[in-house]
């Protein structure tokens, strides 16, 4: 039996006395395309960081591809939010993409020619090959985002996590990216945090709504009518169990996030 892509059990996390996530349970099969939704500050990014081992949970267990996250690091791809990185860092586009291979290597080994080929191929895939020697600081936000996506796919992951990958890219590349993710999804499990409901409805196979805890919908159809609702009213309410909660705020004229 193939192991689950993701298994989160009884997960708790807080900053000091402020509880961010409580009693999160989530099971995701391999081959899924999961959209993670939730209002700003609902704990979406925290959840992903816990799953990736960047943050340590207060309680609970996390398994990726059937193993401890620290053991499966080489099989994971991660696209963080582009805005948090040091933009004056002296590094070229090519070296950022190559960094994606680091989880595949032993501690003392160096990048091999085949690592470089894979990183280069990933850059071509996202249309950044032409700018490969550019310092990362001399790119636009959208270009930088593409490089981070190249870095994530350079690792040839079995499961790929993306934290708002389209927040700073243009509309054209956004559709391009999701088309590409769909293609990739034939063999890679995909988990994407997104604010863009049209994307969610046309690409996601399942949805997780985060609001201190996680509500999982194992098929996207359920939410189709909910999505229509959300579009009618920028601040909408979707009921999950006894307590209704706000899933997202989407204004046509006010789309920035965080």
């Amino acid at each position: 039996m193939t192991p689950l892509a993701l298994e989160v059990e009884n997960l708790w996390f807080s900053y000091g006395s402020h509880v961010i996530l409580q009693d999160v349970n989530l099971q995701l099969k391999q081959g899924e395309f999961l959209a993670v939704l939730g209002a700003n500050g609902s704990g979406k990014t925290t959840l992903i960081k816990l799953v990736l081992g960047i943050l340590k949970p207060d309680r609970g267990s996390i398994r990726i591809l059937g193993g401890d996250p620290s053991k499966t690091a080489g099989r994971i791809g991660y696209v963080p939010q582009e805005t948090t990185l040091n933009k004056s860092f002296p590094i070229s586009v090519r070296d950022v993409a190559l960094m994606g291979r680091i989880g595949r290597l032993g501690r003392f080994s160096r990048y091999s020619p085949s690592d470089r080929e894979k990183a280069d191929a990933a850059l071509e895939r996202v249309g950044m090959w032409g700018l490969r020697d550019r310092p990362i600081g001399k790119l636009s936000g959208g270009q930088r985002q593409r490089v981070l996506i190249a870095r994530a796919i350079a690792s040839e992951p079995d499961i790929l996590f993306l934290d708002e990958p389209t927040s700073s890219v243009d509309k054209g590349f956004q559709e391009n990216l999701y088309g590409f993710l769909k293609e990739l999804n034939e063999r890679v499990t995909i988990v994407v945090i997104s604010h863009d409901l049209s994307i969610v409805s046309s690409y996601a196979k399942s949805i997780a709504c985060v609001n201190r805890t996680v509500y999982f919908h194992d098929h996207a159809e359920i939410t189709q009518e909910l999505l229509d609702q959300v579009y009618q009213c920028p601040v909408d309410v979707i009921a999950h169990g006894p307590i209704p909660h706000r899933v997202l705020q989407l204004h046509k004229d006010h789309e920035e996030d965080d």
Partner: protein, 268 residues
């Protein structure tokens, strides 16, 4: 300057300056890109505690500085690991506590304290041969460690969270980095003293950062700049009979401000 090379102390000073520049360029670059300048300053100043302990207990001050600055570095690593930005109060307290400990232990040590000023402000012209060997050894340790873990240091410095997600042992690397800073500080104290360490550690990488296409090139440019600042500082010191450490820092500071002005003018 050429006739000055007839003196052994001058040759030793030049050699010390070059060795210091290598460590300074490598470690300074990591300090600047990781934004841990304040932590480095804390380690350098707290090292004074090591001098106090060494004098009080009667062993080599060099050993005292190495041991104590390593200890402080690991304490700081533990304290700042999860929260680099918000740990500055604790860093400041460790910084001052180390110095206070040094001063009090020196008060309690009977006898005339010969060359305390040289630890505060450096004495590159009085570096003995034995220290040169030690500095060479420390340089080799620093170069070897950074070379062995270059890709990991690069990943941690550029995107720590991504590095963690990819299984890079960021925690261990961070302890190693702060330990290496302590070693570099021990060397730089020889040249410019513990009060001026931060300037020599950060000015060359700061200037190099904008011009370098990679972390490795940034390190190389920093090494060349440090060597240039050290040697020209020594020349000023020798020619005009000025304190060597302060002369080195003044040259570095001059270039720092020139660099800022040039950058400002270009962006207008």
């Amino acid at each position: 300057m050429i006739e000055a090379l007839h003196y052994e102390f001058m040759r030793n000073a030049l050699l010390a300056g070059l060795l210091i520049s290598i460590s300074c360029g490598i470690i300074g670059s990591l300090v600047v890109v990781n934004r841990i300048v304040f932590i480095s300053g804390g380690i350098a100043h707290a090292a004074y505690g090591g001098i106090g302990i060494a004098f009080f207990l009667g062993f080599s001050p060099m050993l005292g500085i190495i041991g104590f600055s390593m200890l402080i570095a690991f304490v700081m690593a533990g304290v700042t690991l999860e929260n680099k930005q918000r740990a500055d109060t604790i860093i400041g307290v460790l910084w001052a506590t180390g110095m206070a400990l040094g001063i009090i232990l020196l008060d309690l040590t009977p006898g005339y304290k010969t060359d305390l000023m040289s630890y505060l402000f450096g004495s590159i012209l009085a570096v003995p041969k034995s220290h040169l060997w030690l500095m060479a050894l420390l340089s080799v340790v620093i170069m070897g460690t950074v070379a062995a873990f270059y890709k990991d240091f690069l990943a941690m410095s550029y995107d720590e969270e991504f590095a963690r997600a990819m299984g890079v042992p960021v925690k261990a690397l961070y302890f190693v980095l702060l330990g290496l800073i302590a070693l570099a500080v021990v060397m730089i104290i020889q040249a410019v003293g513990l009060i001026l360490v931060i300037a020599l550690l950060t000015i060359p990488p700061y200037i190099a950062e904008r011009r370098a296409g990679s972390l490795g090139v940034m390190m190389l440019i920093s090494i060349v700049l440090s060597a240039f600042f050290s040697l020209s500082g020594l020349w000023f010191s020798y020619t005009f009979n000025l304190t060597s450490g302060a002369s080195i820092i003044m040259v570095a500071a001059l270039f720092f401000f020139l660099h800022l002005i040039v950058v400002r003018l270009r962006s207008v």
